[in-house]
């Protein structure tokens, strides 16, 4: 079920901002609801929408809300340019156009019965949060949940209250680190790969899901393999320029793959040869 008007994949449906919360100085979470109330707003963890700000432009943004909460679509957006800045400046009641959801999501079904190891860098935690919700809502269907989360500095950490709440769940390990820490920071300092030594991992029965800047994902996949994860148990979410999200504009091509419809989530085994190619 897509949130597009008249089944035309290029036409956005009218949504309204219901809630805005500030995560960090440059990152906001918006909760959108359909203007007319009708829409199921359902999505798979890892999918994204094209969000349109009237007259400004459209952006691919991962959905970062709870897949089981119908009627609401939640996005965590970081301001990095004119269009994102415009999006995070929306107020409650403002209209936002939504197309989607698009893309192939995280392998939450395949991960049932296994441990779920999530490694997130920076804003990369946003597309992974729906997986955490999914696992915690269906706790008995999954094994252990381990989150390794790295951010630039303590001020840049997302979802702080939730991180603390998740850490209290059973069979759940939440490890957080920052690249740069001030003297008041009592937590870990160092790149996200330094968290591996503190994680209780069972690689043979785990599925790893990784999201963050591409370089970070390359370091992390190396570390995962050093720790015994097999390549077909590792999943990454890739990013490229996107204009249409439906495989027509050609911008998001990654080798023969379209990130918008073959991805954005890929099994590491499939894209490993491409990750090594500079300027692919």
């Amino acid at each position: 079920m897509t949130t597009t008007a008249n089944n035309d994949p290029m036409m956005p449906a009218a949504y309204v901002v219901r809630q805005v919360s500030k995560e960090t100085p440059d990152t906001f979470t918006l909760a959108l609801g359909p203007e007319n109330g009708a829409s199921n707003g359902s999505f798979q963890p890892g999918q994204f929408s094209m969000l349109w700000v009237f007259g400004v432009g459209e952006l691919p943004i991962s959905i970062s809300g709870d897949p089981s909460a119908s009627g609401k679509l939640v996005y965590t957006v970081r301001s990095v340019g004119e269009a994102t800045h415009s999006l995070i400046s929306r107020k409650v009641g403002d209209g936002v156009g939504v197309r989607g959801p698009f893309g192939a999501g995280w392998p939450v079904q395949a991960a049932r019965g296994r441990d779920v190891v999530i490694v997130a860098g920076g804003i990369g935690l946003a597309p992974l949060r729906p997986v955490i919700y999914e696992v915690l809502k269906n706790r008995s269907e999954y094994g252990r949940l381990v989150l390794l989360y790295g951010s630039r500095s303590p001020q840049d950490l997302l979802y702080r209250k939730e991180l603390a709440a998740w850490a209290r769940q059973r069979e759940t390990q939440i490890l957080v680190t920052v690249d740069y820490g001030g003297l008041n920071w009592r937590g870990h300092v160092g790149v996200v790969t330094t968290l591996f030594k503190y994680a209780r991992l069972q690689p043979q029965q785990s599925v790893a899901m990784v999201c963050g800047p591409e370089i970070m994902m390359r370091f992390v996949t190396r570390e995962l393999q050093t720790h015994g994860f097999s390549r077909d148990d590792i999943y990454l979410s890739m990013e490229r320029n996107m204009k249409c999200a439906v495989g027509f504009c050609g911008h998001c091509q990654y080798g023969p793959l379209f990130i918008c419809k073959d991805g954005p989530v890929f099994c590491y085994e499939q894209i490993r040869p491409m990750l090594e190619k500079y300027e692919l």
């Binding site: 690249d179 820490g181 003297l183 300092v189």
Partner: protein, 155 residues
Amino acid sequence: METLERIIAEQPFFAGLEPGVLELVTGCASNVRFDAGAYIFKEGDEANEFYLIRGGKVALELFAPQRKPIIVETLGVGDILGWSWLIPPFHWKFFARAVEDTRAIALDGKCLRTKCEENHDLGYEMVKRFAHIIERRLEATRFQLLDVYSTRRRA
């Protein structure tokens, strides 16, 4: 209460050492504790020991003029703190502060240095292990340098 020898033998860092070599190492070892907030060593001091952290957390810090103090990295259980004891001119390059109450095994670097010069088998085993640690730290540091989460326009 475990003997120091057994504790050291069980540490992954010292795994694979022959009993004779292990004895030499143990001869230079002792148990230490640091309260939260205490400085373990300071930049510029002579580096005469290194530590194997058994509990708690240690922050490596840098102070530079006109900047707030920065924590470069934190180390925790199982980590090795300090390799400047092995490399001339044997001075610490950072401050190390216990963030939490920290227990560690302290190895007398000066003592070990002498033993390494006398016994090259011991020397080689130490250098091998430290080379591995330095390589991991270097990789992590380069990753840190990339500042991957920044939104600055890259060249």
